[in-house]
């Protein structure tokens, strides 16, 4: 009986992993290129995308997860802002050639391009996904794609080993906008984002612009 239960557990575990890795069975091939480009074209259609996110970091080593939520802004000209509101406020601005971490109490740390290219490039890669930079994604990742522009799933394997040391695999799901993102880290940790309340303003508010201002 014990063996049967163990076998059943193993079956479900393998099935879960199989399901999780499913997208990586669909490398981007010629017939899917058009759908892939259309999907990214739709993502890039809006200059500014604003919305809410829920984040869950799963720390596999500690069998714990850290949940948080907040707002995001994607401005194709400026970069991205991830403003965590709960449970502890902070913000991360990924600019063109800088990275600003805003901490509670208003303290802001700037990481300039020089000496921090790794982080900046990581930010660029993340931006590529959100701004629908098809060529950038093809250059920097092995791309896996399934579905169509109305309902798609994307898998990304970083070609750059340095980027891969931060994010071993990335999967995304969406339609006209990105609905969820999974980042699988080398150490087994995962970060899951669920995005909602997307809206597409024509311009940013002053408060939003201030995130991009260097201190």
């Amino acid at each position: 009986m014990k063996r049967f239960i163990a076998g059943l557990c193993l079956f479900f575990l393998v099935a879960a992993v199989w399901a999780q890795d499913d997208i990586f069975l669909h490398p981007l091939k010629a017939p899917d290129i058009d759908a892939f480009r259309t999907t990214l074209g739709l993502l890039a259609k809006n200059q500014i995308v604003r919305g809410s996110f829920e984040q869950e970091k799963t720390l596999s080593r500690h069998n714990r997860s850290l949940k948080s939520s907040g707002n995001f802004i994607i401005a194709s000209e400026l970069g991205m802002v991830w403003e965590t509101l709960r449970p502890f406020p902070s913000a991360l601005t990924l600019g063109r050639d800088y990275l600003v971490q805003s901490r509670p109490g208003g303290q802001r740390t700037v990481l300039g391009a020089q000496g921090n290219e790794t982080f900046i490039r990581l930010a660029e890669v993340i931006s590529m996904v959100f701004t629908g930079n098809a060529q950038g994604l093809l250059d920097n990742f092995e791309v896996y794609y399934f579905g169509n522009a109305a309902n798609w799933e994307l898998g990304l394997l970083p070609r750059d080993r340095t980027i891969a040391s931060f994010a071993a695999r990335i999967t995304m799901k969406g339609d006209a906008v990105i609905r969820s993102i999974f980042i699988y880290e080398q150490n087994g940790d995962t970060i899951k984002y669920v995005l909602s309340n997307h809206n597409f303003p024509s311009e940013l508010t002053e408060h939003e612009i201030s995130f991009f201002a260097l201190p």
């Binding site: 996110f53 984040q55 970091k57 720390l59 080593r61 500690h62 714990r64 997860s65 850290l66 949940k67 948080s68 907040g70 995001f72 991830w82 965590t84 449970p87 502890f88 406020p89 902070s90 913000a91 991360l92 990924l94 971490q101 901490r103 509670p104 109490g105 303290q107 740390t109 990481l111 020089q114 000496g115 921090n116 290219e117 790794t118 982080f119 900046i120 490039r121 990581l122 993340i126 070609r159 750059d160 080993r161 340095t162 040391s165 931060f166 080398q186 150490n187 940790d189 970060i191 984002y193």
Partner: protein
Amino acid sequence: MKYPFLRFHEMRSPWGLRIWLLVHLSIPVLLVLSLFFVGPVRINTLLMDMLPKPAGDSMVMAADRVLAERSSREAVIFTASPDFETAKKGAAVLYRELKNRPEAEILSLYFDPAVIAEFTEYLHKYRFVIAGRNTLELLKTGNAEEIAMDALAVAFGAFSLISLDNIDTDPFLLAGRRLEEFLTSSLLAGGNLSLKDDVLAAHIDGTWYVMLRILFTPQAVSIREGRNTIGAIYAAAAAIKKNLPHLEFYFSGIPFHTYESSSSAQREIAIITTISFSAILLLFIFIFRSPIPVVISILDIVVSLALAAGTALLIFREIHIITFIFGTALIGICVDCSIHFFTHWKGNVALKNGYEIRSRISKSMIICFVSTGICFFAFIFAPFPILKQFAVFSIAGLLSSFLSAYCIFPLLKVPGDKKRQIEILSDKFYARINGITCKKLSLPPVFRYIIIASFVIVSLSIIFFSRQGIRIENDIRSLYTMSASMQKAEMRAAQILNHGSPFWYFIVSGESREEALINEEKLIVRLEKEVANGNLKSFLATSVFVPSVSRQNKTYEAMKALLPLARSQYEYLGFPPEYAEIFYKEFAAGKIHCFPEDAPSLSGIANLWIGEVNGIYYSAVMPLHPANEAIFRAIAEEFSFVHFINKTEDINRDLDTLTRTIVLAFFAAWLVISIMICFAYHWRDSLKICAVPVFMVIAALAVLTLNKIPLGFFPIAALILAFGLSLDYVVYMTGARHHESKNITSLAVLLSFLTTILSFGALSFSSFVPVHIFGITVSGGLSAAFISTMLLHGRKD
């Protein structure tokens, strides 16, 4: 046994041969014995070793040499391509080629997660005793909550760049906090380089550069191994380039310069030696038309060079490769004795045998040997190792040549009277080549003095109109001119690395390791003020990575402010309360100290921490992008334990002082020798002898001025040598003045001049600046001395 050319049975005294044998056997025997009792000898090719050691605190200089020794073994190779993959592949293939070579002490290309893990592990292990200034400030000012909130913000924030792997034992993310500061202040974060695909790469002007770093073993940078290693690197790079189009290599670092300069030096030695030997050979065949003077003179040169090299190796245990280039000039100098002997041997029928020939020229020969020897001897006190070696090399060579001419040559059997004729001295010869007679060659005294006066006026005019450029100035940087390809590679490397590291730095000392680190922290506090003032961008220092134990203890005490926050921190992070208990226990056991040797291998500590040298501990502090050197010199003056090191400037300053002293000593020597000459010769002869060096100096100054060469140490040293050599001509000519064989002496002086000018003229084409300066100065000076000697004495009888 009878030798066809030697007349041992007619030897007047056996002592000559005995002395010759004593000198020529004792040096080789002593050298061989020293190999067993003292150790091996070597040819030194290290470029930096040709420079003088700066004056100053000898203890600090000893520490600096440890630092310099390491940096002289470091090299950087960049592979470059418009395509990153090609650049990386080129670097990877070269890495594979080199990684198993024993000459590479450290070879690094890949900065994979293991490197970051090493940093993280180090910082996690010592997280309670190492903290950045900002963290310490927060702890000391009662703002520990801010650290806790920062950690929570990172843990719950989006896209955290700090690993949460150790959050169970480090809930305040102290290691990650320090890692941020660490990466931005370590050598890893330098310049335009960043981590890309596990390698350090830079993207500049559309080209990708991938960096490969090598630290060679000390043995690898010596000549033979160095040639093999660097040669193997070049060969491997050439092979890789064939398979990867559009791939370029840039080689930077002292080992590559050493290789290039030693290869170039060996090439030059071969060329100069071949030219000098060939020219002397042809000249001797043309003049003497007999194999004996040619063979004996060539043997004399070979024996002199061998004794010279043996003596220099015996005394210094090494000869710098550039000493050899200087030493090739010995070919032209040491043949002078042979010339003077053989011109009489071949052309002076009045002298019946070798001993009579020796008697005729012995006074001049001895005076010339002593005066030239004195001038070379002066170089023994020069601060340049290559000049010291050159001095010993040349004196030994001269001694050998002198002893051969004095003790061995008289044993040679003179030819029969019919054969004792030098064709060039016969009217028949002149008539054949020019249709003129010897008489036509003679100039009335008035013309000769007009020519001398014109020559002096022209030289003085050049000096007068270029007087702005005549100054005592030394710049050791100008002593080495790198090739265009090396220059391009170095400029590209500087652009990529962009460390902004100047040629100067600080060395901090202390009676113990702890004191050295404490002293360094005091200096850092002062330097941070200059960072705030905008005079300095940053700096590299050991204590940034490894604080003193005293500071580590203070940090540990300050960290106690976090303990009351641990429970709530774990609660926020979703860990049960028992984790806080474990944290307290770990904290209690966490007062462990780190030392320089514990730092991660790629933190760059090895380039900063010098360690113990003669019982004192030292470390280097490297400023990055400083504004004004004077500010930092002044800062060093504020602390007794801080030593400002600018070797280039210090050596230049020392050399300027030394050059001024030498100029004065030169005048003094000229006066002393002039007085001696006044006692030895008639006043009219004395005047002529003393005037020749003056003409020589004026001409050499004019040549230097025209070539825009400032009066540095090397030109002045060359002037001294030219002084010694130029005296020879006038002394021989004066010695022959009252003899009927003046024509023969004139020919000997002409030959002597031609052979010397050939040797030093060849040096003036050298790519090594000191050798070039020597060649040009001595050639100019000797030409003037020869012309003025001939005009003063050279009227044909």
